[in-house]
């Protein structure tokens, strides 16, 4: 290795211990024989490395957390009535609905779609009819689970509106 390559390593990986042991040893051997490179290594260590080792780790004043906390509280208060949370809760509620509710809802959607497409030209109607037929067969094939006490005590708004 020539001095240019060694200089590069002194300014980076050798000084930082970020090169492999074999390369580290090669640089060390070069430094033992080359005064100029040895002087550079000393200068880098004294000027660009050691002063930072004496730097203190400084934490923020307590007032910073107080300001952050106040800002967070204000932000929570200003949030528009937790729209996302409501949506999340609604979706979680919807996922827990019993299967007959989904079946009924799907059937209603099919009926609405049928009504919307009723005025289409004959060719398009045939396509729509085929699709509707498939949907009806699918819904008919859905297994309806046996009624349980839980089904008899349906009380949420969504359940009441569907059943």
């Amino acid at each position: 290795m020539d001095c240019a390559h060694i200089k590069e390593l002194i300014l980076t990986g050798y000084t930082d211990g970020q090169i492999d042991a074999r390369l580290q040893e090669q640089v060390r051997a070069h430094l033992a024989a080359c005064v100029a490179c040895r002087q550079l290594a000393d200068a880098v260590r004294k000027t660009a490395v050691e002063p930072f080792k004496k730097a203190e780790r400084i934490g923020p004043p307590d007032a910073v957390w107080q300001r952050i906390k106040q800002a967070l509280i204000l932000e929570e208060e200003r949030r528009p009535a937790g729209v996302l949370e409501r949506l999340r809760d609604f979706l979680q509620g919807a996922y827990s609905l019993p299967r007959p509710v989904y079946a009924t809802a799907a059937a209603m959607l099919v009926l609405l779609a049928a009504a919307a497409f009723a005025r289409l030209p004959a060719q398009q109607q045939r396509t729509v009819n085929r699709y509707l037929q498939e949907e009806v067969e699918f819904i008919t094939d859905l297994k309806v689970e046996p009624r349980t006490a839980a089904y008899d005590s349906l009380s949420t708004k969504i359940e009441k509106s569907f059943l």
Partner: protein, 183 residues
């Protein structure tokens, strides 16, 4: 930086401020210290710290737990501090209140120790001020925070060769400024 339990992260992501305070206590030392070294201003470092934690709080609900929280916070911190630093350089010359911050927040036991520490801090501030913001961020993460090249590359989202190149340029600048001081 201390490890933060997953349940704390989940509670904080749901808006629990006590849980978020736990995160603050674990990482605020790193955030403030890096911000102070990069901006060279206690006022700006406080603003950066506040800004970083507001960003973390707002982003926590979308945090996927696939990436490391540490790396994520390192990146937000360095980017926010660099933006603050670059903005300040554009606006005005530095205000130089760094020494006050150091003196008020670190309290060595004797007057001599305090004086020596103040000298060290002045030297560090002076060295860092000779570097451009990108080099400064690399040097702070490497020399003061003890990051490996890989950790620096992840925190700054740059490749390892760029880390190496910035550190090299930074050290050449520091050597040149020392030479000009001496001779």
């Amino acid at each position: 930086m201390q490890d933060i339990p997953r349940d704390i992260l989940i509670r904080a992501s749901r808006g629990n401020i006590e849980a978020f305070e736990h995160i603050y206590k674990a990482v605020s030392g790193f955030v403030y210290n890096v911000a102070l070294r990069i901006t060279n201003s206690s006022h700006d470092a406080e603003e950066v710290t506040q800004d970083v934690f507001m960003k973390v709080y707002r982003s926590l609900p979308g945090f996927q737990f696939r990436s490391s929280l540490r790396t994520w916070i390192y990146r937000i911190t360095v980017n926010t501090a660099l933006n603050s630093c670059k903005k300040a350089i554009k606006e005005t010359s530095r205000r130089g209140d760094y020494d006050t911050a150091v003196r008020t927040q670190s309290a060595p036991e004797t007057a001599d120790a305090r004086a020596t520490q103040a000298d060290h801090e002045r030297a560090v501030a002076s060295l860092l001020s000779a570097l451009n913001p990108d080099q400064r961020a690399c040097v702070v993460l490497r020399e003061i925070e003890g990051f490996s090249y890989k950790q620096i590359s992840e925190a700054l989202k740059i490749n390892i060769n760029t880390v190496r190149s910035r550190l090299k340029r930074a050290r050449e600048t520091l050597l040149a400024s020392r030479k000009s001081e001496v001779g």
